[in-house]
Symmetry: C2
Subunit: 194 residues, 2 copies
């Protein structure tokens, strides 16, 4: 039997522990934040012995980095169809929804803090955000090409403005960006419709 991955027959207990611990770490990050997370509280929350955590991760930073990676992977991109304007609206509605209320949203302050303090977190945070932005930028470029959007705008800057407005609202005001306001936001930034 030729198999490229011999499947090292990993003990399922290992993977189960990993998942339970990482999820508990995310819950802790959401509740206590980056600087106040402790291995012991994660272990308590996960219903796991401290030693089990140290078996899988050398230190707190490695655990947090893995937890954030899991968080990023949980943000599934949404496939949308329709006109560029319709696609953009759906994508931004989804972003507004996720940024308003989701595990990602509740961990966002801790993620920002983590990226500021730890090089590894910062690296994949920026990398992942860059990747997550690409479809939006491409969407805007498409819309310009088809004439749906004004021709002179800079797609990257437009994406910064649209996404930035939503994130800004979450972090700097007392109310998240309401999904229903997405069309008006697009109208404002693209100065279209009426």
């Amino acid at each position: 039997m030729i198999e490229s991955r011999p499947k090292p027959a990993v003990d399922p207990r290992i993977e189960r522990s990993r998942q339970v611990i990482l999820q508990a770490a995310l819950d802790e990050l959401s509740e206590s934040g980056y600087g106040s997370l402790t291995i012991e509280s994660v272990a308590r929350r996960a219903g796991v012995g401290k030693a089990t955590i140290y078996r899988h991760w050398p230190d707190k930073i490695a655990l947090i980095a893995d937890a954030f990676k899991l968080l990023q992977q949980q943000r599934d991109p949404e496939l949308v169809t329709g006109s560029p304007r319709e696609k953009l609206e759906r994508v931004l509605r989804h972003v507004a929804d996720v940024v308003s209320d989701s595990p990602f949203s509740s961990c966002l302050p801790a993620l920002i803090e983590g990226a500021e303090r730890d090089r590894a977190v910062r690296r994949f945070h920026h990398h992942f955000q860059t990747e997550a932005r690409k479809p939006t930028i491409a969407l805007i470029a498409d819309g310009i090409a088809t004439g749906d959007f004004p021709p002179r705008i800079d797609p990257e800057l437009a994406a910064f403005a649209l996404l930035g407005a939503i994130f800004f609202c979450r972090l700097m005001t007392n109310a998240p960006f309401p999904e229903e306001r997405v069309p008006t936001l697009i109208d404002t930034v693209f100065n279209s419709s009426g």
Copy 2:
């Protein structure tokens, strides 16, 4: 002598301690973040006895809240003149500058984290940001009234988009928003010029 404020003749040592300690707290927030700040490290950095801090603040949260208040007050608003477009450009250049490199910028992640964890920090953070946004919104509304800006845009949303792009860049990418790109940002959001 009639004086509305009798000046309670406060011992200058008290005010000096307050300032030194608050500045040290800001430095700690910038370096260690919200959750990892300790009273002892602030005392060490300020060259002050621990007891002096406890004499002035009941706990860590009160100290941090006061430190953030000082930080906000240090952001002096800039008075600008010229056409609405020129004024807006100068204001946004100033914002891009402050958000890229300043005590405010280096404390921003800690401020976001602090606002998430502590109700008092959150309240004045949101309040101050709302106040700081008002001139920009008014500026945009003025520009619409004078015909410098497109008539149909929502001034508040436009401000969210412009400011949001700058903050988004600081927090979600590996490079702060370059000041020189402010004109292009305005052009993109207002779809004007060429």
